[in-house]
Structure formats: structure tokens, C-alpha cells
Symmetry: C2
Subunit: 305 residues, 2 copies
Amino acid sequence: MSAHPRLSLNQATIKHASLQEALDVTAAGGYQAIGLWREPVAEVGLAEASARLSDSGLRFTSLCRAGFFTMPEGPERRASIDDNRRAIEETATLAAAGAPGSTAVLVLVAGGLPVGSNDLVGARARVADALAELVPDAAAAGVQLSIEPLHPMYVSDRAVVSTLKQALDLAAPFAPETVGVEVDTFHVWWDPEVLDQVARAGREGRIASYQVCDWTTPLPADVLLARHYPGDGVIDFAAFTRAVEATGYDRDIEVELFNADIWATPYAEVVARTAASFDRAVAPYLAATNAPAPTAPAPTPAPAG
Amino acid sequence: MSAHPRLSLNQATIKHASLQEALDVTAAGGYQAIGLWREPVAEVGLAEASARLSDSGLRFTSLCRAGFFTMPEGPERRASIDDNRRAIEETATLAAAGAPGSTAVLVLVAGGLPVGSNDLVGARARVADALAELVPDAAAAGVQLSIEPLHPMYVSDRAVVSTLKQALDLAAPFAPETVGVEVDTFHVWWDPEVLDQVARAGREGRIASYQVCDWTTPLPADVLLARHYPGDGVIDFAAFTRAVEATGYDRDIEVELFNADIWATPYAEVVARTAASFDRAVAPYLAATNAPAPTAPAPTPAPAG
């Protein structure tokens, strides 16, 4: 089996797989890269996870996830900052263990409103404070923190960072190699300013990761599980992918799907379907130097020899 | 019973009431104003609806709704434009029938992506085209079209206008007395730029209507029905209401709730609860010239005499 050389499987797409299962099925699917989650890494321990990643021959594209630091000062906030520091170290270790071309990217989800609070402005200010506190650690470890704007439907309970512009404004005080942004189509596609902000992110050198994932309605009862294979919804991947590529972005591209139906499908089938959807919906719009011809749909072949 | 003098009940809050029931229960609840929906008006006919509204003694604050004009040129689009023209006439007629202080505001919901399309940019451009086509009719009728940005979770299936900034940009080519914007807290509270855009809307004279409605999570299975009484969620009504009042906005303020539990509650109870929630969550932040002292919670009273 083969997959596009720049396609990375985010492990959440096969959520119930162990680390070893995820590495095996991703490599067997012809992928060259994988994005990991902290929980399955912690199950085997960081050293063992790094060894297994190294054995897989896969590039490491990002670690999901840290952040969740909107609470006011106190023991809970200190615990969060400490946890973010551990995640920075994990990211550096895993990136070093991955194949050449791995990227030491740590995805940050801001966190929602603290329980009982309606102070969205204050919660957002505390995100900026947390970044300032973590940046020296990230810089020392050679890790790029990647601020992920989440769809505004998650603002109260998950992420007070809602737009690419807001993420870039939060990143602005820091060096781009230390603080970047996620561009996840699912979260930002609706934004009237998003293509301008993608161009800005490129100019500022801050696109840490491009993630492709589709949107369709009606939304499922649990809106966290609303993510679809690229091409199965209404997002214009041609426009998005061209905009990201035009910035010079040349890293791997992750597919990260939270979807109960996909999670109930055999891993190998998900891995194959993800590769096929990427080939159809995304690959045709990648810069020519990196993109092989799309594998499907193929034109009618000429008669052999 | 009494209600705040600037509180208007949007009829959708008691969705299953007929026009007459809505007028009766709203007046009996001590309200001075009501916002109507086209369907219950159509049930009795416009002339009869106008007569009943006039008899109620209530001010008319807005008609919901028209719009839904994102489709490309063709018979379906012509039918939509014609329907919008009828809605303009209905708005003018109802506003004239309402008590003095009524406002001839027609709420416009843009519509989502046409079926099978992923061209969000094109759909948005067609909203601008539709406005240009309808503005002469609205101006002639003395009606203010009010562009309502809807929460980005509705962008694909309901409204491609997602932010107050976008709505104001769409309104910009036209006179403010003919094209304004809705400021509905539920839809725009998450936006990092919203208070700046409220101030801009005020400077540009475009706040057609301020609607108050709360947000809480988890969202219900049908995200259309996620709206709550002011104060029952996480929106900062102090900040919002002060920002709107600071612009000089002096019109009535609607409460419009789409919520299955509220719709299953007796109308009079909903009307009373809406008034109480408005008194607690919104009224304390209204400009002093219009706002009576909040009725609850009261401080410990001093001993009489």
C-alpha cells in the first residue's frame, strides 16, 4: 500500500489503537509520518514510545496535546503549567526519535471558560500569560508550540481561541520557531478572513501544522465528533491547500478525525480510506515539487506498449 | 404583571402560540413590545394580523424573517427575491399598525451553502447582490433590513454571514436607515472582536436590533435549539449591554429563544420567566434614563420608618 509522501496520520483518527497498533497500521498503510497523542505514549512510557517510534521508521509530525491554561492563578494553574512543561519535553524526545524530517510541534488547545466564569476576555488574557511562561522552556527544548484555534462552537468548554487571527495575535510577541499556529480546516473554514490570515501566517513564518478534515451538517449529537474525511463535506480544500502551499509550507499534513463511525471501523480500513481521501481532495492542490500525480480517479489508460 | 419597558418578546420564544395567543400573553405579561414571525402572521392574513397587533397596544419591534438568498441566479433565486419583497411590505404594514415607537425592522438570515456547493466565497457574494437588489424596495417602504450574523456552527446550512464585522461590511454600501445589523448575543459573543464591532456598528448607525439570549454547553442534539434565558449561561451581558447602550441604542430589546424545553412550557410562564431573567441579567446595565431599578436580587432592606 502507499500513501501520499506528505500525509501524516494523526493517531486520534484511530483513537482506540494502542501506540504499537497505530505505528504498525500507519507504516503498513504506506504512510511516512504520524502525529501522536500523549495518552497512548504515556501507556508505554516515553522512552519505550520513542524506541518504538524510531523502529517504525515514521516521521513524527506533532504531539497532541497540551494547553488548557485559562484558569486563574492557583494550584490548578500551576499543575497545568507543569503538565505543559512535561509535554514540551515529550515533544522534543519524540521528534528526535522520529525519522529525519520530523517536526517538534506541540499542539496547544487553550481551554474554555473556567467553571462559573463569564469572563472571556480574562480567560483569553491568561492564555497569553501562559504562553509567556512556557516559551523559554519550549525555546530551550527546540519545540514549536502550536496554538490551535478551535471552532467557535467550542469556545465555552474547550478553547477560548477561536480564529486564526486571534492565534496569530497571541503568537506575535514570540519567535516563530517557538510559537506557531495550527491551520485545521475544520475549525477555521467558516471564517470570512481565513485565507488572508493563512497568508499572514505564512509571511510571519508561523504555520506549524496544516490539518485537513471536513465539515458537514447536520452536526452529530456530540459536536466534538463532527469531523469527516476530506472530500466528504463542504470545505473547499482546493482553495485552502493552495493558500497554505503558497506560503511555502512544506511540512507534512495531518488528517485528524474525531468521529464515532470512523472509530468503530477497522484501523487498516480507516488508514486506507484516509489516504484515498487525501489523494482525491488534497493532493491535487499541493505544490508540484512534492506532489505525485493523484492516484484516483485516473484517466483512461493508454493501451500498453 | 409588569416587564421592563424596553423588553420585547420575540414570538419564537413561544413558538407554538398563534398570533392572537402571542399578543394576548405578551400584553398580559406587562410587556410593551413584541417581535413577530411571518408564519403566524400569514395564518390570519396581513390585514387581520395588523388589526390585532393594533388592538393589542404593543409596539412592533421586528419581523422574522427573510433572506435565504445564497443560491445562484435562476427561478429559485427569483422566488426568494420576490418573497423578500413581500416581507418588506409586511414589515412596513405591521410597523405602522404597532404602537408609537414601533420599528420597521426586517431580519435577514443569509442562507447556507447551496446544496452540492463548496463555494463559500461565491455564496457570500450573492448575499451582497441580493441586498443591492432589495435596498430600493426597502428604502421606498421605509423598512430597515437587518443583516443577522449567525453563529459559525450554522454557516453551511443556514447563514454564510458569521460575524458582526462581516455583516457591517455587507451593509456598508447602503444607507444605515435601510440596511442595519442584528446584534444577537448568542450568535456573536464568542468573537474576539465583537465589542469593537458593536462600537463600530454604533458609529455607523447600524444597530437595527439588540437581542439577548444565553449560551451554555453541552449543546443539545439539535444545535438550533441551544438558546437560553439571559443569565442561564456564560455570556457576559454586563459587557455586551453596556457596549450596545454606549452607542446610543435606544430601541427595544428582544428575547428570542429556540429551546425545546421552553417551547414545552406554558406561554404565560415563559413570558414571566423571560421578563424576570431580563430584569436580572440585562436591565441593570441599561442606560439609566430608561432602566428602572432591577427588581431582583434586592439588597437587605432597611427597616421601615
